[in-house]
């Protein structure tokens, strides 16, 4: 996947975020504070503008630009988490003009999320979709696979993030950050093939 391709990936992701803005915030209502969609949309808008302002000439530059925009515009829990992901991606891709090894790339993102958020699998956070998605990456991943990973967060009881406040009542709701991560993966496989 080259720069051109990766740009399609991200603009697809930003499109998805804007399309699902309301739904993402809705997901965040019962188990959080109902702002995940607004937070992510704010970030997507900022990232788009930053990319237009200074069109990236390398993968590293692109991910760094996006990471900084998210860090400075999203706030909440998802801001630093997604921001760290993109900064980790930028690091991974220093001096490279192609994404040769998606698995290692996403692994670096997951590693960043865990370093910041200190969540392990099963705590009903985006970690619960990043982990299986990254693992499955050596074979082809379908959007159905992604959907089922996202759905799999539904029965979990949250013990990290805002959703932890509702304890047992978090069971039975999809985790918003996992849903937005799912959109990120979906955009990736679509741009990839």
């Amino acid at each position: 996947m080259d720069l051109n391709n990766a740009q399609q990936w991200l603009s697809r992701f930003f499109d998805y975020i804007e399309e699902h803005k309301a739904y993402l915030s809705e997901l965040d209502n019962p188990i959080g504070d109902g702002d995940h969609g607004h937070n992510m949309a704010r970030g997507a808008k900022a990232a788009r503008e930053a990319l237009e302002a200074t069109p990236p000439t390398s993968l590293e530059m692109m991910f760094k630009t996006v990471g900084m925009s998210l860090l400075s515009k999203v706030g909440g829990a998802s801001g630093p988490l997604y921001g760290s992901v993109f900064l980790a991606f930028a690091n991974q891709l220093k001096g490279q003009d192609e994404i040769k090894d998606p698995k290692t790339l996403f692994a670096s993102g997951l590693e960043a999320i865990v370093r910041r958020g200190k969540a392990s699998v099963g705590e009903k956070t985006m970690v619960d979709v990043w982990t299986p998605f990254t693992e499955k990456l050596n074979q082809a991943v379908s959007s159905e696979d992604i959907e089922s990973m996202v759905l799999a967060t539904k029965p979990l009881k949250a013990t990290k993030g805002r959703a932890a406040y509702v304890g047992d009542r978090s069971i039975g709701h999809i985790d918003p950050g996992s849903y937005s991560s799912g959109l990120f993966f979906k955009a990736f496989i679509e741009a990839h093939h």
Binding site: S25, D33, S72, P80, S84, G117, A164, Y165
Partner: protein, 329 residues
């Protein structure tokens, strides 16, 4: 949504401008950042900063000034501020002795403040922090994320602010915070929800005859919904839990804070504090200082919280009573 504003997405910006302009004798805005810093220089002293999502006014900016906070960061309503903005506050507060951050225990706040700490340290500014978790609504929860930082946080601002003004070091403030934090416990209750301007609708719903105990300052769900009950019953419910958590016994000294959530008038807050002080008397616990009013609100939510702080060190009381130059203390 019926609010006095111009545009939902402009609320935080305009509120900041209003605060800075109305109180220009005490605070100023740092450039075009989301930071209000005190005019008082405090050269050579440790800077004390706090911040978080907006919607809790007068927290935090109302407590910026000599003897309390050096600067406060404004996030969007109920959304934690971003690392770059927190970093701006750190820079504004740094007078050579480092900066201490008071963080309320929300994942978003913790993550963003920690990132700002990384940024600042990369620039050679010493930063340390404490995380307030006074809300015991989610009792003996196994996961720290369960306990939120709420109204008790203003005691941390005031007491650390006093010692910072006295010239305490970063290390001393950290140690003090570790003694202080376990001594304050809070539980809130809500009668009606708040509306985040950009969302335009209530964050939760309560029936006309329902109240909820343990609700958070962002409308986080509490531990129990019950029918509307007398003030005295509400006071008993909350006081019993706080007393247990602080292991209060006859002869103990406590500071009492009845904190209005924004939509509850002082009339009700004083009726409630009357019941609370009665319960303390019965247990022979001394209310050595009592505060009543809107200190850490949840926009226009109707309800209040009760905070008790056990005074295990008399010096804390002097620190609380020391004069400050702020907008809202």
């Amino acid at each position: 949504m019926k609010k006095i504003l111009n545009a939902p997405e402009q609320v935080v910006e305009e509120m900041m401008l209003g605060m800075a302009e109305a109180h220009k004798d005490i605070v100023h805005r740092v450039g075009d950042t989301r930071v209000l810093a005190r005019n008082y220089e405090g050269a050579g002293k440790v800077g004390l900063i706090s911040g978080g999502g907006s919607g809790h006014e007068p927290t935090h900016a109302g407590f910026v000034g000599q003897g309390m906070l050096s600067a406060a960061v404004f996030g969007d309503v109920f959304t934690s501020p971003t690392p770059d903005q927190v970093y701006e506050a750190v820079k504004a507060a740094d007078k050579g002795a480092g900066v201490f951050m008071v963080i309320k225990n929300y994942t978003g706040d913790v993550l963003n403040f920690e990132m700002a700490k990384d940024m600042a340290e990369a620039e050679g500014i010493d930063v340390d922090f404490c995380i307030t978790k006074d809300d015991i609504a989610v009792e003996d929860s196994l996961y720290s994320d369960g306990q939120r930082g709420v109204a008790g946080t203003i005691f941390v601002h005031k007491i650390l602010g006093y010692y910072a003004e006295q010239g305490a070091s970063l290390k001393e403030l950290k140690e003090l915070s570790e003694k202080l934090l376990p001594q304050m416990k809070t539980i809130g209750l809500a009668l009606s929800p708040a509306i985040v301007p950009e969302q335009g609708k209530p964050g939760f719903e309560l029936a006309d005859d329902e109240i909820e105990f343990g609700i958070g300052i962002h409308g986080e769900p509490g531990y129990q919904r019950v029918k509307l009950q007398p003030s005295k019953a509400m006071a008993e419910e909350i006081y019993a839990k706080l007393r247990k958590a602080l292991a209060l016994k006859a002869g103990d000294d406590v500071v009492v804070l009845v904190n209005g959530m924004g939509g509850t008038p002082l009339m009700e807050q004083y009726v409630f504090v009357n019941d609370v002080l009665g319960l303390l008397k019965t247990d022979k616990v001394n209310a050595v200082k009592t505060m009543v009013g809107d200190y850490m609100t949840s926009i226009e939510m109707a309800g209040l919280s009760l905070t008790l702080m056990k005074v295990t060190d008399k010096a804390w009381l002097d620190a609380l009573n020391a004069p400050v130059k702020t907008i809202a203390w």
